[in-house]
Amino acid sequence: MPHRTPLYDWHVAHGARMVDFAGWDMPVQYTGIVEEHQAVRTAVGIFDISHMGRLWLPGPNALPLVQKIYTNNAATLKEGQVRYGLICNEPGGILDDVLVYGWKDGMGMVVNASNREKIVRWIGKHQGAQPAPLMDTTHDSCMIAVQGPNAVACCQGLTSAAIDTLPYYFATHTIYRGKNCAVSRTGYTGEDGYEFIVSADQGAQLWEELAGRGARACGLGARDTLRLEAAMPLYGHELNEDIDPFQAGLAWAVKMNKGDFIGREALARGQEDPARPIRVGLELEGKRIAREGAAVLREGKPIGRVSSGTFAPTVGKAIAMAYVPKQSATPGTAVEVDVRGKPAPAHVVTLPFYQRKNR
């Protein structure tokens, strides 16, 4: 039986097409992926992201534990700062990509729904002599993303603290209708906006209030086209246990000099290996979509695979991310993607495919 978020009834009542995603019943679309995508790029959309894992590690032992398993530097986080990083295994393969929140009284972590149990077990396995408590607050909370150029205006006065001045990749604790909530200036769309974490029993109210203010309900379909245009990796596609952060183009999220962490040694050794395929962007010449798993060919020979692909509504083209060897990764390189048995011409492009103005 898949899990249901606090907003499940609303999604179904509003005609959402539901799908099982990582063991959760989630809305893929309401009216249409392209429409919902455009709403986020031009106005404001809301996403139910309650399926994502929300972990809380209170106390002073949280930091050393996080430092041990996380590739980025959690020790330099200011109060309320949020930072993206990877959790790797000993060979340097990616177990998950996560956001770490630095608070005065402990550390928060948001992990992929598909990896929640894996990461909880991993954290448990790597507790030191002074263990940090670990609370999985996923089922007690509701998480809603508000994304788009009108997100800030849409959220005016919603919480007791003003959040319009919240800097990018910072979070704050505030009050929503009498209860604690956390808001971060983060997102997975390439637009400005927030992610709200409220208690589960307030989720529906917050969602309806945002919808009442003009925010458009958007599903996982639009979430995927938006993040792909912004070239953001998705675990299970661009990231998995056989790919390391450098191949994925995420060297900026790895601080080799912050101290030791699991996978550090392997990453230091592997960095020089030119044979390992690296992530690139592809733009297809025609309209056929290159989908995950499609072979990428150069002069008729298979050289790699597509990790994600779609028709990009804002860019107006079929785009994809793929892994190819370094020598085929130069922007402009002509390749072909095997789309259902027929070669579709494409070329390598720089990432991202889309970038919002005034950041």
């Binding site: 893929v28 679309q29 009216t31 249409g32 992926i33 392209v34 379909g221 086209t225 025609g286 309209k287 056929r288 979509i289 989908r291 779609t310 028709f311 509504p313 079929a318 259902r340």
Partner: protein, 128 residues
């Protein structure tokens, strides 16, 4: 085309027969299921079609679906406008969204396809 007078395949194509010319498209239901159609591949003029075999493709953002031929015959005309603008299917699946015209053997009927009433029962039964 009047949807009431058309015949339907299980796979959501519609067909209309006039003399030995069968016009084919997809139903409103299929269009609603697909939503964002980005690409349509139609057969070439002269291609032979076989009942139940794929003779084209329709691609939406989420997935690609095959188009299945509802009759045996030879493709004599295709709606090239759809190749430039697949949204014509979304907007008007029974008229401007027609896909192909197939020349059939004399004596061919559409009896193997469902009436509108039967088709609507089928989609209701599928729980949509």
């Amino acid at each position: 085309m009047d949807p009431k007078k058309l015949r339907y395949a299980k796979t959501h194509e519609w067909a209309s027969l006039e003399g030995d010319l069968c016009t084919v498209g997809i139903s409103q239901f299929a269009v609603d299921q697909l939503t964002d159609i980005v690409y349509i591949e139609l057969p070439e003029i002269g291609d032979h079609t076989f009942i139940g075999d794929a003779f084209g493709e329709i691609e939406s953002v989420k997935a690609v679906s095959d188009l299945y031929a509802p009759v045996n015959g030879e493709v004599v005309e295709i709606n090239e406008k759809l190749l430039e603008d697949p949204t014509k299917v979304t907007k008007d699946p029974y008229a401007k969204g027609w896909m192909a015209k197939i020349k059939v053997e004399p004596g061919t009927t559409l009896d193997h396809l469902m009436t509108q009433e039967q088709y609507e029962k089928q989609i209701a039964a599928e729980g949509h």
